[in-house]
Symmetry: C2
Subunit: 158 residues, 2 copies
DNA sequence: GACGAATAGTTTGCATGCTTACGATTTTTT
DNA sequence: AAAAAATCGTAAGCATGCAAACTATTCGTC
């Protein structure tokens, strides 16, 4: 029956998506290992170059989609290496503001270039229309993710 | 210029792919937490139901695309829980053969159903042709991954 | 103004990925 | 046959994700 075929298609899609995600991450990590950046330390650097200051740790955690303790520990490392620094927020003394140091900005550019280079390499030979077709699919999957998640948490009426 | 636009497209694709991969994984993990299965323990179970015996630990590691030590530790946990058991391979006494227990097979079916259910939910509203279009893109990206990896290690002349 | 709830950051403990180093065994070379 | 190289599983140590519990501060309600 056709349902079996659809099931196989869905399984195959899930497997490929998962495999591609990890393989891509590994490729970037491999290329950035030479810059002294391990696994996940380059992401905070990249996002600090992207977000508009002032950036609190919570903002960074939300942007990176990781939990606050993970951010705190990563920033400990990056601060020790002199790539970022934390300062008190005088508006709200619970918060700390995070910024890249001069050296951090230098690394940020290198990271951005390296990440872009990998993307360019991996996406070579794929047309714009194919990319946008994938976007469309990705977006609808994310919508499905949100609607199911709504059931678990609580829908916020706008 | 058009190059800037292409660059943005590639960045956007990378970000969405990464975000979708982790979000999907979290969704499955969330649904399987109730079955007492944490983060990555369900994958060995699933693959043990998929691979044709005899399955050595190395085979499992290759299938899961994780390193041998990671597999060893996961199997320690699963063995302690009575889901798998290891036996010596009489063909090659370095190896150990891994199999699901009766209970492990029961859990394997539940895991498979749960994973399929998530896939079905997330892929609802997406047509077969869209899925295959994505396959095509994924496959070419994986090809690009392989060819670039050749350059880093050592190309084997055929 | 005072008290309870919410929020920001940290600490701690666990899960799980990797790399490196090791012992046991097999395969290959000489 | 003996020695060298490769392979299998394991152990130890690090990196990094999470959740839970804690402290300090701010907000909301009375």
């Amino acid at each position: 029956m056709a349902d079996t075929e659809r099931l196989e298609r869905e399984r195959s899609f899930r497997r490929r998506l998962a495999r591609l995600g990890t393989a891509w991450r590994r490729q970037v990590d491999h290329d950035l290992r030479d810059y002294g950046l391990t696994e996940a330390t380059w992401r905070p650097v990249l996002y600090l170059g992207l977000l508009l200051p002032p950036v609190r740790q919570t903002d960074l955690a939300r942007a990176l989609e990781i939990e606050a303790p993970s951010v705190a520990r990563l920033l400990d490392v990056l601060e020790r290496r002199g790539l970022v620094f934390r300062s008190r927020d005088h508006e709200d003394r619970r918060s700390k503001l995070v910024r890249l140091t001069r050296e951090g900005e230098r690394i940020e550019r290198q990271v951005r270039d390296a990440v872009d280079a990998v993307s360019h390499r991996l996406l070579s030979g794929i047309s714009d229309s194919e990319l946008t077709a994938c976007y469309s699919v990705f977006d609808r999957i994310e919508e499905n993710l949100c609607t199911t998640r709504m059931g678990a948490e609580a829908a916020v009426p706008s």
